[in-house]
């Protein structure tokens, strides 16, 4: 409900405090106290800020599959690849080197079939997600600039292939702020660290409060969240601390000092609220079943997805879920069949998340993004090769909810899935579109650093208006 306040910039003609007070009807909840306390900070970099225009999505859940998911084995059906399996094609570039290279076509390991009313074809690799295709906008024409994991992962998150830049979640936090100050604005749930390390969710030159707070699935999701002394002792600590700080403020009247006093209040709130947000034990059996999460488990992608919904419900702006780390991932050079267990790890959980969000009416205001750093080659040097190499010329991703058309396919690749044939969507365009759905103009969302204005999309990016509902 509090999200609705942000829909129109005109809401800011009265003070945010008044609005929030009106919206909550003066309830004395801890959450409200946290919000009001923090909104009174004149220069709070995390206070909610008006978007550039009415947003379609208030939250993003960004599902990132590490290692490079094969498009021709998942969301981009290529009958010609099946037909011409083993035949040779000539490509004109290999790993950045121009030349003529002969390659053998390789058919997918999974059959494709149409699903839903839309009839969008999805392979048997993702049987559960396939059942949700009528809610998806599948993009089959993504492309990026680099063939290596590190650079491609960095680009999918920051737009840049080489240099550390702010992550898309940090940009969203910077552009829009957040509603619930008892939780971070940008949460990354990652059991392992992906390629490019924590630059992936870094804030770089943006204020540090916008960086992603990494959560490692398990009993202690955020560092230093667990009290090391009895609660009654901590209460005494906080009381004496507040008394000292109030005395210290006399004659100093400093916004930064005030902000730090409040940060302890928020931290105290986080100790209570964050564990609750990460605690799925009170979810119903039906919900757990929807995600495929065994009761009592605090790990696995199903847990990550369910916690993502709980965080969005609690006002977190941007949640990223990373399925696996820089080892044992989708990087199927050796054998495409290694995609199977990775897909099984995420498929049911993702479908559960989509259904759960929809059932609770949250899908309309939450954009779910499913992506990876690149696709995989539809061909190989050796005709007998079981795996596939990196392929950034064309790959697939999908969006759902948050103002995106449902049950459509956008863009296409050539008959073998080697190049984009129609409607290319560069990573910069992908980013511009996500920001647009959040009510942010990617050309206006800038930060001045080292003498110039920086953007997530650098000097590129086109909003793919064709996919917006």
């Amino acid at each position: 409900m509090y999200n609705d306040l942000m829909t129109h910039a005109t809401a800011y003609t009265c003070t945010r405090r008044d609005l929030l007070r009106a919206a909550f009807g003066g309830t004395g909840s801890l959450l409200l106290a946290g919000i009001l306390a923090d909104l009174s900070r004149a220069e709070d970099p995390l206070a909610p800020r008006p978007p550039h225009f009415a947003p379609r999505a208030k939250h993003v859940i960004f599902l990132f599959m590490t290692g490079g998911v094969s498009h021709v084995d998942s969301f981009d059906p290529k009958p010609a690849l099946v037909r011409d399996h083993g035949k040779t094609v000539t490509i004109h570039e290999w790993q950045g080197r121009p030349g003529k290279f002969s390659r053998h076509l390789k058919k997918p390991h999974w059959a494709f079939r149409p699903h839903g009313k839309s009839g969008t074809e999805v392979s048997d690799l993702f049987p559960h997600v396939a059942e949700c295709v009528d809610d998806l906008c599948v993009i089959r024409s993504l492309k990026s600039d680099h063939t290596n994991h590190y650079e491609a992962t960095l680009q999918m998150h920051t737009g840049s292939v080489s240099f550390a830049r702010p992550s898309i979640g940090a940009w969203a936090s910077y552009g829009l702020g957040t509603f619930n100050r008892n939780l971070p604005s940008f949460v990354v749930i990652a059991p392992h660290v992906p390629y490019a390390g924590d630059q992936t969710w870094g804030s770089d030159f943006l204020p540090g409060c916008h960086q992603g707070t990494r959560v490692v699935p398990g009993p202690v999701p955020i560092a230093d969240m667990t009290r090391r002394v009895p609660p009654a002792v901590q209460d005494l600590d906080l009381r004496l601390l507040r008394r000292m700080n109030e005395a210290h403020l006399q004659g100093r009247g400093d916004a930064e000092l005030n902000a730090r006093v409040r940060s302890f209040e928020t931290a105290a709130g986080m100790q209570t609220e964050a564990p609750e947000a990460f605690d799925v034990s009170r979810e119903s059996d039906a919900t757990l079943k929807l995600y495929g999460l065994p009761r009592g488990s605090t790990s696995g992608f199903a847990w990550q997805c369910l916690v993502a919904r709980r965080l969005v419900e609690r006002g977190v702006r941007f949640v990223e879920l990373i399925d696996v780390g820089s080892a044992n991932n989708w990087d199927a050079h050796g054998d495409m069949d290694t995609h199977a267990p990775l897909a099984k790890n995420v498929d049911r959980a993702i479908a559960g998340l989509l259904r759960d969000l929809k059932g609770r009416g949250l899908l309309d205001e939450t954009l779910v993004v499913w992506t990876t750093e690149f696709g995989r080659t539809p061909f190989n040097e050796q005709p007998t090769a079981k795996g596939r190499e990196h392929h950034h010329w064309a790959f697939s991703s999908w969006l759902a909810g948050g103002g995106v058309k449902r049950g459509i396919v956008y863009g296409s690749t050539d008959e073998y899935g080697i190049h984009v044939a129609e409607n290319p969507v560069h990573v910069h365009d992908f980013h511009a579109t996500i920001l647009h759905l959040m009510g942010l103009d990617h050309e206006r969302l800038t930060f001045r650093h080292a003498g110039r204005d920086f953007r997530l999309t650098d000097v590129h990016g086109r909003v793919v208006k064709e996919i917006i509902a």
């Binding site: 220069e43 970099p45 290596n148 994991h149 590190y150 650079e151 080489s162 240099f163 550390a164 971070p184 660290v193 390629y195 390390g197 924590d198 630059q199 204020p207 540090g208 409060c209 955020i222 560092a223 230093d224 969240m225 009290r227 090391r228 002394v229 009895p230 009654a232 002792v233 005494l236 600590d237 004496l240 601390l241 008394r243 000292m244 700080n245 005395a247 210290h248 004659g251 100093r252 009247g253 000092l257 730090r260 940060s263 302890f264 928020t266 931290a267 105290a268 986080m270 820089s326 080892a327 290319p424 050309e443 800038t446 930060f447 001045r448 080292a450 003498g451 110039r452 204005d453 000097v459």
Partner: protein, 726 residues
């Protein structure tokens, strides 16, 4: 708040042009190189095919025999776009269709309306420095003006005060009063050493009523070995120092620490700044006594610690050189030189040729190879002795570099002779020079006539003493930076710096002995009149930086190991097999000062990252100050804080006397002052109530006193008074 200035946005348009910066960048980065490489061979200035010149917007619109080459905003109606699509005749380029990306670029460019920056003129556009650019304040020679006359002649203690007061008086402002001695000794001790003063040091200063008491404190602190650990760290921020290489597997560099220690030792020795720079740029090439050789080789770690890129860094060496030039430009000259890698600098008079003239110097330098996923053994380190090596540079194969079109090393343009940037005199290598040019570069940078080197450094010294520089963009003295608030003072300081033989410690004394340094920070009236404190009419309260917070916790707790750090306990080289899939990552515990923590590029040290430590991936001029709840959680629950609090409790409990005396000692150690009567009462209440709460929680009676005292210690550590300096 440090970020408020950052929200100022560039105007949408560059004055005098109707092309936006983004469009300029797009044109220069993507469009122009395409026109030059793929079109102008035939459609250039001389004898263009079909009468069509693609050398300026006007020429393009005028077109050739077949009419205008493009209709702005209408790619589908534009001949150029039709031709490059190869669907209709003519097909251009005739022999081979351009890659999709390039077709995309030109189509978008037509769609955008053919933005073509004025200053670019014809596509052969020559770079010229305008008289206005030459007159820009930072490129003019340093002007040594006498300190101005002030009305209140009793206030200034030193010439610095006269410069500051004259400006305050002109604005009708009065400086804040001088702070009390207790505030001053805490301020200057953290400032010079990054550590809190001990109660004994405070008492000595308070008890010294002689006129030279303040000067005595400064002269006691400057020779402290902890001074170099503090001020060396400021330089390490600028030099983007790290203990790992930053390529995709983030290989460890066990020898990097020698450069770190070199920097610390150099500050402690008050090495003249010009010599310090010469050693870092060309230490291996300097003539001098043989016992200096090893130290000077280690100094070139400044270049060697440049970031490596990719899984195969040798293929991205052009980016490592860019990182070198970027760091050199920002840290020494306050110029964003690397902006000129792909195109002439948009705002400052730095051309692409200037960039590649410097590039040639570093391309002729051999960088050490730290190891990478592809080739996981280090090589090309410099031997210091039979069993010792340094992560340092050496001469490579000298020669000029070619311009890289679009910044792409695979698209070579014309060769440029190695030289210094034109705006700074453009000095060239002497005829017959045989080396890389680093030795000459070291000379150009430290030439007393160079207008930037001294200005940039005195501004940094000022910045760290006062919280802000006279130039508030310490790494950018160019057009996009801020002009100095006190230009005459900046130049006066720069002139004194050179006159003092580039002595950094002499500059500290000049600044610290001023009255301006000794003002209070709490004057609200002054804050309202001069909110940005542009006049330096009061002192700026500051949060301790990450290192000082950790060091103060260790020092007050009593567990600080004050010895100098050596190498890190990295795994042995023969075991290295780091990959992008399993990159090197480690956090090594130590009780030494934070400057000795192992610093990684890909995964930042968790503590330093939490408290706004420097980003070791690029030159950091000024730390950010964020205030986030996860920092508060650190003070509440982090094991390190609890460990120091426990040590502090032990230290206090070992003191003779009663609890009241111990509370007094706790305040004096942690905050540098005695508690008030009210605070004594509150502390006593806390100790009693905490012991009760611990008892109620089942803590055995014998453990309660220590835990209660540790609780009091945590509260003191967490207080604003502990982490802020007035």
């Amino acid at each position: 708040m440090p970020y408020s200035a950052a929200f100022l946005l560039l105007p949408a348009l560059v004055p005098g042009m109707d092309v936006s910066p983004a469009e300029i960048e797009f044109f220069e980065k993507d469009v122009r190189p395409l026109l030059v490489q793929r079109c102008q061979t035939c459609h250039g200035a001389d004898k263009p095919k079909g009468g069509l010149r693609l050398t300026s917007r006007a020429a393009l619109l005028e077109g050739g025999g077949s009419g205008p080459a493009a209709v702005p905003g209408k790619p589908n109606d534009s001949l150029l776009v039709k031709a490059i699509r190869h669907k209709d005749l003519p097909k251009m380029p005739p022999k081979e269709r351009l890659p999709d990306r390039d077709i995309d670029v030109l189509t978008r460019w037509v769609q955008m309306g053919l933005p073509w920056p004025d200053s670019a003129g014809a596509a052969t556009g020559k770079f010229e420095i305008t008289p206005e650019q030459r007159r820009f304040w930072s490129f003019r020679p340093v002007k040594d003006s006498p300190p101005p006359v002030v009305k209140d002649t009793s206030w200034p203690l030193t010439p610095i005060d006269r410069f500051l007061l004259a400006r305050l008086e002109a604005k009708g402002l009065r400086p804040a009063p001088v702070a009390d001695k207790r505030t001053l000794i805490r301020r200057v001790t953290f400032d010079l050493t990054g550590l809190p003063p001990t109660p004994e040091e405070i008492d000595a200063f308070l008890g010294d009523d002689s006129p030279g008491a303040w000067e005595k404190v400064i002269d006691r602190l400057l020779p402290s070995p902890h001074y170099g650990e503090r001020w060396g760290r400021h330089w390490l921020d600028l030099a983007r120092y790290a203990d790992t290489a930053g390529e995709t597997a983030d290989f460890p560099i066990p020898e990097a620490y020698k450069y770190r220690n070199y920097v610390i030792d150099s500050f402690n020795a008050d090495k003249p700044y010009d010599e310090f720079l010469r050693e870092q740029i060309a230490g291996d090439l300097l003539a001098g006594p043989s016992e200096k050789k090893a130290e000077r080789v280690v100094a070139t770690g400044y270049i060697a610690v440049a970031r490596r890129f990719g899984f195969d860094p040798q293929n991205y060496h052009h980016l490592t050189i860019e990182d070198t030039i970027d760091t050199l430009g920002k840290s020494v000259l306050g110029l964003t030189l690397s902006c000129a890698r792909c195109h002439d600098h948009k705002f400052d008079p730095v051309s692409r040729a200037d960039y590649y003239a410097l590039y040639g110097i570093f391309a002729g330098t051999r960088y050490p190879f730290p190891g990478s996923e592809e080739k996981n053994r280090p090589r090309d380190f410099v031997a210091l002795g039979p069993n010792e090596r340094a992560y340092a540079v050496a001469e490579g194969t000298p020669g000029n570099a070619r311009i890289q079109l679009r910044g792409d090393p695979h698209q070579p343009g014309p060769e440029v002779p190695r030289r210094f940037p034109e705006i700074l005199g453009g000095a060239a290598l002497p005829p017959g020079a045989k080396g890389s040019g680093r030795l000459e570069l070291a000379g150009w940078l430290t030439d007393a006539k160079n207008p930037l080197t001294a200005r940039v450094m005195v501004n940094r010294l000022w910045q760290h003493h006062f919280g802000r520089g006279l130039v508030r963009t310490p790494n950018n003295f160019g057009k996009q930076g801020q002009p100095p608030t006190h230009p005459e003072l900046l130049d006066w300081l720069a002139a004194r710096f050179v006159e003092d033989g580039w002595s950094v410690k002499a500059m500290h004394r000049r600044i610290l002995l001023s009255r301006a340094y000794q003002l209070t920070s709490g004057d609200d009236r002054g804050a309202a009149l001069d909110p940005g404190n542009e006049g330096f009419g009061r002192f700026e309260r500051r949060r301790l930086d990450a290192e000082s917070i950790r060091d103060a916790l260790l020092a007050v707790g009593g567990g600080l190991d004050r010895s100098q750090g050596g190498p890190h306990p990295f795994p042995p080289e023969k075991s290295w097999g780091f990959t992008q899939h399993n990159p090197f990552q480690a956090v090594y515990a130590t009780d030494r000062r934070s400057v000795y923590l192992m610093t990684q590029r890909i995964r930042r040290h968790p503590f330093l990252a939490l408290f706004d430590g420097a980003d070791p991936n690029s030159s950091t001029a000024q730390r950010g100050v964020t205030t986030v709840p996860t920092q508060a959680l650190f003070f509440l629950n982090n094991p390190f804080v609890h460990e120091q609090a426990g040590r502090f409790a032990d230290r206090l409990l070992a003191e003779p006397g009663d609890d009241g005396r111990r509370v007094g000692r706790a305040y004096r150690l942690a905050l540098g002052r005695a508690p008030t009567e009210e605070e004594r009462g509150a502390a006593a209440d806390y100790l009693r109530e905490s012991a009760e709460a611990l008892g109620a929680a089942g803590v055995p009676a014998a453990q309660r006193p220590r835990q209660a005292w540790a609780g009091l210690a945590r509260v003191l550590f967490g207080s604003n008074e502990f982490v802020y300096v007035d």
